[in-house]
């Protein structure tokens, strides 16, 4: 393996690891203030929504709005299954099944 590749991958590892680690280091010394805890409580839903929605309704390079992607309309029944069953495993299996079906139907 070339030295150059190894140096690059170690560099990638360091710049990935440091942002993952800094908050654990900072918040171990002192707990964050109340407003920050309140803010961080909204972070999971925000991140999930910010990852998910563009993945469902945009596609192509450069990205464009595309509401007709199978990702999008398979998401609707999948969402309903999640709401009504509250089952992570069930939702994942139904989502996969519907997406597979959408592919078979040539959508």
């Amino acid at each position: 393996m070339s030295m150059e590749y190894l140096v690059m991958v170690v560099g990638m590892g360091v710049v990935t690891y440091v942002p993952r680690w800094i908050p654990f280091y900072l918040f171990a010394k002192r707990r964050p203030p109340g407003w920050l805890v309140e803010w961080l409580r909204l972070v999971p839903a925000s991140i999930l929504s910010a990852i998910l929605l563009p993945a469902l309704v945009t596609g192509g390079v450069p990205r464009q709005i595309d509401l007709l992607r199978p990702e999008m309309w398979v998401a609707l029944p999948t969402f309903a299954v999640a709401v009504f069953t509250r089952s992570l495993g069930g939702t994942v299996l139904v989502g996969m099944g519907l997406f597979w079906l959408a592919g078979r139907l040539g959508c």
């Binding site: 707990r31 929504s49 910010a50 994942v92």
Partner: protein, 232 residues
Amino acid sequence: MRLIKTGGRRSVLIDGLIVVWPICLGYAPIGLAFGVLAQKAGLDALQIGIMSLLVFAGSAQFIAVSMLSGGAGAAPIVLATFLVNLRHLLMSSSLAVQLPRMRPGKAAFFAYGVTDESFALNTLHFQKGCWDADRALVVNQTANFVWLVMTVLGGYIGPLIPAGAAGIDYALIAMFICLLVFQLKNRLVVVTAGIAGASAVLLALLIPGNAYIILASVFAATAGVMLKRFVQ
């Protein structure tokens, strides 16, 4: 999911493994796909394995490999990796607040396994209340192991796997949909998630790369806190 909190090592391992399977299912096709692309970009199995072990971040690894095949040098690839993975800063902050205090060494090890997927899954179980750092670590490290194995395997057998087999490409999206549903516990969270999704779509159309995730999340969480203050 019924989990009983006990001190036994065996139950820690089993609880973690019971919970982590959707991530493993999702990593399988993505890991294989990465291995195929990396191999096409000229990396051998050892090089793929070392990248998966040291970086352990799907999207950044895909970008690195596509930049490598485009002839990019190390510096721009490391910079791109940094920018793409900066979103983990938010996730680790959120986890650091949820997790009980840990020894610095353990926290340092835990931090290594923070990904979009493990963050979302562990957050769900911490909020349910029957979760601890050890079980979360099992989730992190199992996901890490599956990612490592699948990416290396992709370098060997990837081209043999038919595209779109069993809808497996949808596993992670479906998991994120369900985890988001679990987060929608009150009106404030619903509104915040709505703001995050709408602004993320808008930003995704305007700027290339994945900076929209961190920008939209920061914007939405801030708007949510301000909204709460305003309503009170």
